[in-house]
């Protein structure tokens, strides 16, 4: 756990003269390594300190009467609220409902967006025609459509509709931009080898845009989550969004905070899963 000192105890004496390489790192290099690991430790300590200070302040200030605990709750109460939710036995349901809604809208937005982006790339004419509509569709705050979706599609349908709408346009635009920025020389080369439009798509554009695809996935995880929670705010019988609204209506800030903490853990987990998929895909 301490410094890797033994290796540098005899820096000047190569133990493996056969390869001609220096056996141990030089003193200067060892110092540099030490400095690096010290920096890393400092970063971790700094992060831990901020978290601890935040939690401590949050715990102490309401208890000392500096702020109204009714408004802010405090960590130990949040923890108890969390345990209470667990005991009631439907916390898993709330998490599951939200997770499922996120997954479905995420997948639908991704697939639909990819199909549309491919169509736009295949037909420059279509792209030109649709361009202004896509720009407006992307700029419009989709949240504004929640009441309309609710009236049209009912409580469950509107949740999916908002989440998909929020993620769809950015998917189309990000993917299409990536497709259209494919190295023209690679496309030219494929054409000299006799590739038609479809082969250029499958051999050059799609495989050349794996990174665009991953960036879009990452952006969409957050966006679908936003859409789902907002949809649940409008109308729902279960889900973390429901829990937040319900908790605030009965003024149980501990319940609200617990739901938010779970939500943030969930978004981190999904993000990490996407990142895992990325390293596996790019390899």
């Amino acid at each position: 756990m301490t410094e890797t000192a033994p290796a540098t105890a005899t820096p000047g004496t190569p133990t493996d003269p056969g390869t001609g390489s220096i056996a141990g790192p030089s003193v200067a290099y060892q110092n540099w390594i030490d400095r690096q690991s010290r920096n890393r430790r400092q970063v971790q300590v700094g992060r831990a300190l901020i978290l601890i200070a935040f939690l401590a302040l949050w715990e102490v200030a309401p208890r000392a009467g500096l702020v109204n605990p009714m408004l802010t709750s405090y960590p130990s109460a949040v923890w108890e609220g969390f345990l209470e939710l667990l005991a009631q036995g439907n916390l898993g349901l709330h998490i599951g409902v939200t997770l499922l809604e996120v997954m479905i809208s995420f997948a639908v937005a991704m697939i639909l967006g990819t199909v549309v982006a491919i169509c736009l790339w295949l037909s420059p004419m279509l792209e030109k025609i649709l361009d202004p509509f896509l720009v407006v569709g992307n700029a419009l705050p989709k949240i504004a459509l929640v009441p309309i979706f609710y009236i049209w599609l009912g409580p469950q349908g509107s949740i999916y509709a908002v989440a998909i709408a929020v993620a769809l346009f950015i998917t189309i635009l990000m993917l299409y931009t990536g497709f259209s920025q494919t190295d023209p020389n690679k496309i030219k080369l494929a054409r000299t080898l006799g590739a038609g439009k479809r082969q250029i798509l499958t051999k050059v554009v799609l495989p050349g845009n794996v990174h665009t695809f991953m960036a879009t996935l990452k952006a969409n995880v957050g966006l679908s989550l936003v859409g789902v929670i907002v949809g649940e705010f409008q109308a729902s019988k279960a889900g973390l969004g429901y829990l937040i609204v319900y908790g605030s209506q009965i003024f149980r800030m501990d319940m609200v905070m617990a739901a938010i903490v779970i939500l943030s853990l969930m978004s981190v987990a999904i993000y990490l899963a996407v990142q895992k998929a990325e390293t596996w895909l790019i390899r």
Partner: protein, 270 residues
Amino acid sequence: MSAEQMPGRHREVPPKVEFRKVNLHYFSDEGETHAVKDMSFSVRPGEFVSIVGQSGCGKSTLLSLLSGLMHPTSGQVLIDGKPVRGPSPQVGFMLQQDTLFEWRTILENALLGPEIRGMDLAAARARAERILTSYGLGQFLHHKPGQLSGGMRQRAALGRTMCMEPDILLLDEPFSALDFQTRLSIAEEIGEIIRREGKTAILVTHDIPEAIALADRVVVLSPRPGRLKSIHEITFPSAGPTRPGSMAAREAAEFREYYHTIWTEMENHD
């Protein structure tokens, strides 16, 4: 054999490639550009021709016309006496950048053409392995392009072109992205491979020494609109009966003379 080495002696051989009064106009919102004007010349089978000229002389356009990516506004582009209709496996194109696909291994890159053309992949694979190995890339077949040096990448790109077994090679400044040292040795190497295999080659470059060192003839174009200025037969009698490699050619007594003539021509355009 001697027909390939001294093509100048065999003018009666039907041309491999021929431009007949070719004109090409580009259209854009800004207006119309006359890129190539009344271009006529031909290339004999097995001949290595370099095309030089300042930018805007349409030299890359000529290659696009030959590869079937573009079609002349008027006139004819012929290969083996037949008009070019579109990209053909008979014509291999090497671009300025090696344009290797970084998500494919070297071997998979070489198989791109056969995949696109729907050729027998097992045979193509064996061919690609043989070609790449003969270019010194045997140990790197399953490496990604990012792991290779610039010179190796350019050899891999040549391997990809050769895997289609073309008999005409179009080289669009294929060495210009390399550093000077690598550029000289890769040019020598690739020139040697092309000659050994008896391919007809057309090299576009703005590097006059490179053009002279590799070619049997140098075609000089003048810009705006691109048109034929002159054609120079390149021979090196002082270097012996066979044509020297590009490195030796640079050392030959005649080299300086050719360089001076062509350079002067490119400077003083009418």
